[in-house]
C-alpha cells in the first residue's frame, strides 16, 4: 500500500509548518489525525468526557512541541500516538475507572479490530509508516494467542498486569511473564 506514503509526507509537512506557528496547517493536521487518535483515547479512558479532554491536551502538546518532532525516529502519527497515550495513562491513573467487563464491544478480539482496515480502500490513510505497520502486525501474529491478547489488552485498554490477569482469568505471575516474553519476542521479530 504505497498510497500511505504521500499521506505521511503530508503529515510531515503539516507538522513542520505547525512548528513555525502555522495555525491553518495545524488545523489540517488535526483533521487528518484526530479521528485516528480519538478512538484510542476512548478505548483507554472509557469515558467520552475524559477522552475529549485527553485529545485536547495531546494536541496542545503537539502544537507546543511540533519543533521537537524527529522524522528519523518515528512516523508522524506514531509520535502523536506516543503523546496521546502518555496523557491517557496519566488521566487514567488520576481517574480510576469502573471496570466494565461485559461491554460486548470489548469482546471483539483486538487483533481483528486493528486488522479491519487492511485492504479497505475507503478507510482514510493511516499516517503510519506502512512498513512499520505491516511488520508490527506480522510480528503480533507470530506471538502465541494468549500472549498477544495480554499485550493488546494492556496497550489498548491501559490495563495493569493485575487487571489483565483478572480480565483473562489467569494468575498474575503468569501474565507478567507472558507480557515480558511477548515484548521480547516482538522486539526480536521487529529487529530482524
Amino acid at each position: 500500500m504505497t498510497t500511505d506514503r504521500p499521506a505521511n509526507d503530508d503529515l510531515h509537512a503539516l507538522l513542520a509548518a505547525s512548528a513555525l506557528g502555522d495555525r491553518a496547517a495545524f488545523a489540517r493536521l488535526y483533521r487528518a489525525t484526530a479521528p485516528k487518535l480519538f478512538p484510542l483515547a476512548l478505548r483507554i479512558l472509557k469515558s467520552r468526557g475524559l477522552a475529549e479532554e485527553c485529545l485536547q491536551d495531546a494536541y496542545v502538546k503537539v502544537w507546543q512541541h511540533a519543533a521537537d518532532y524527529r522524522p528519523q525516529v518515528a512516523a508522524p502519527l506514531t509520535w502523536m500516538v506516543s503523546i496521546l497515550r502518555h496523557r491517557a495513562l496519566d488521566l487514567l491513573r488520576r481517574n480510576r475507572r469502573e471496570q466494565v467487563l461485559d461491554d460486548p464491544e470489548q469482546l471483539v478480539p483486538l487483533l481483528d479490530l486493528i486488522q479491519q482496515r487492511d485492504g479497505d480502500p475507503n478507510e482514510p490513510a493511516t499516517g503510519l509508516d506502512e512498513p512499520d505497520r505491516r511488520a508490527l502486525l506480522a510480528c503480533l501474529e507470530v506471538l502465541r494467542e494468549d500472549q498477544r491478547q495480554g499485550l493488546l489488552l494492556a496497550y489498548f485498554e491501559g490495563l495493569t498486569h493485575a487487571e489483565v490477569a483478572a480480565r483473562m482469568n489467569i494468575a498474575l505471575g503468569t501474565i507478567k511473564s507472558w507480557i515480558r516474553r511477548g515484548l521480547e519476542q516482538l522486539k526480536r521479530c521487529l529487529d530482524t
Binding site: 482514510p124 505497520r133 522486539k187
Partner: protein, 234 residues
C-alpha cells in the same frame, strides 16, 4: 547497589522501557523510571525505540471523529494572548528556556550582521533617535542616528533573552522593503554601521525581531516582531 545503578544494566533498562511504553509499569516504579528518563540519555533512547516499535499500534483502530467542541477547545488554548503586549507574549513563549549565558551575550556584543564600514572623517552630528520600548512603554534601547548615517545603540533595560536568541534591529520602509542593521547589545553601548543603501534610512521605521543566533546573518526576519516605531528628530 543503588536503584539507579541497576538501571544501567542494558537488559533491565530495555525491559523497563518496554513495560513503560506498553503502560504496565505503574505506581512508584513508573514515577521512579520517569525521574531517570528525564535525565538519562540511554533510557530516553530505549523508550524512543520502544515507542517506534509498538506505538504504530495506537493508530490502527477504526477511525472515529471527535466532536467539534474538542477542536474549539484546542484553538482557544493555542490562541496567542494578544492583549498583553509583545514582550509579554515573548516571555511566555520563552519563560521555560534557560537564561542567556555569558558566552551568548559576549557573542551578541561582538557579532554583527554586516562588515563595519570605514568611519568617515568630518563633522557628524546626531540627527535622529529611535526608542525601542517594551509593553509598559519602558525604554529597552535607544538608537541615535547621525547626519553621516552612523548609529550608536545604547542598551537601557533590554528584556532578558534565552540562550541562543538575540534581538535584531531592522529598517522597514512604507513599501515593505526591509533591511537588517544588526544585533542589539545585551548591555552597554555599541556603534552600529548603517549598511550601504540607495534609500533614506530615516524615512524608514525601525523594528526589532527575536532570532536564533545561529541563523545570523539573515536577510529577512524569521522570528516574531516585538517592536516597531519611527525615528524622531533631535
Amino acid at each position: 547497589m543503588s536503584r539507579h545503578l541497576r538501571y544501567e544494566r542494558p537488559e533491565l533498562r530495555d525491559r523497563l522501557a518496554a513495560e513503560y511504553v506498553l503502560g504496565t509499569l505503574r505506581g512508584a516504579a513508573r514515577r521512579r523510571f520517569e525521574r531517570l528518563l528525564a535525565r538519562d540519555a540511554a533510557i530516553q533512547d530505549a523508550v524512543a525505540v520502544w515507542r517506534r516499535r509498538i506505538d504504530p499500534l495506537g493508530g490502527m483502530l477504526p477511525a472515529q471523529a471527535p466532536p467539534a467542541s474538542v477542536w474549539r477547545g484546542i484553538e482557544r488554548r493555542i490562541a496567542p494572548a494578544r492583549v498583553r503586549g509583545p514582550w509579554r507574549d515573548l516571555w511566555d513563549n520563552l519563560a521555560f528556556w534557560r537564561g542567556l549565558g555569558l558566552a551568548a551575550s559576549a557573542l551578541a556584543l561582538t557579532l554583527t550582521l554586516l562588515p563595519l564600514l570605514p568611519l568617515l572623517p568630518g563633522p557628524d552630528m546626531p540627527e535622529k533617535v529611535a526608542v525601542v520600548m517594551d509593553e509598559t512603554s519602558k525604554a529597552s534601547w535607544v538608537i541615535t542616528g547621525t547626519s553621516g548615517h552612523r548609529m550608536l545603540v545604547r542598551a537601557l533595560e533590554p528584556p532578558p533573552m534565552p540562550e541562543g536568541k538575540v534581538c535584531v534591529l531592522w529598517l522597514v520602509w512604507d513599501d515593505g522593503k526591509q533591511m537588517p542593521l544588526g544585533m542589539l547589545p545585551e548591555k552597554g553601548e555599541m556603534k552600529m554601521p548603517m549598511p550601504p543603501m540607495d534609500r533614506e534610512p530615516y524615512r524608514a521605521q525601525v523594528f526589532v525581531s527575536v532570532e536564533a543566533m545561529q541563523d545570523m546573518p539573515m536577510e529577512k526576519p524569521a522570528g516574531p516582531m516585538v517592536y516597531k516605531g519611527p525615528w524622531l528628530s533631535i
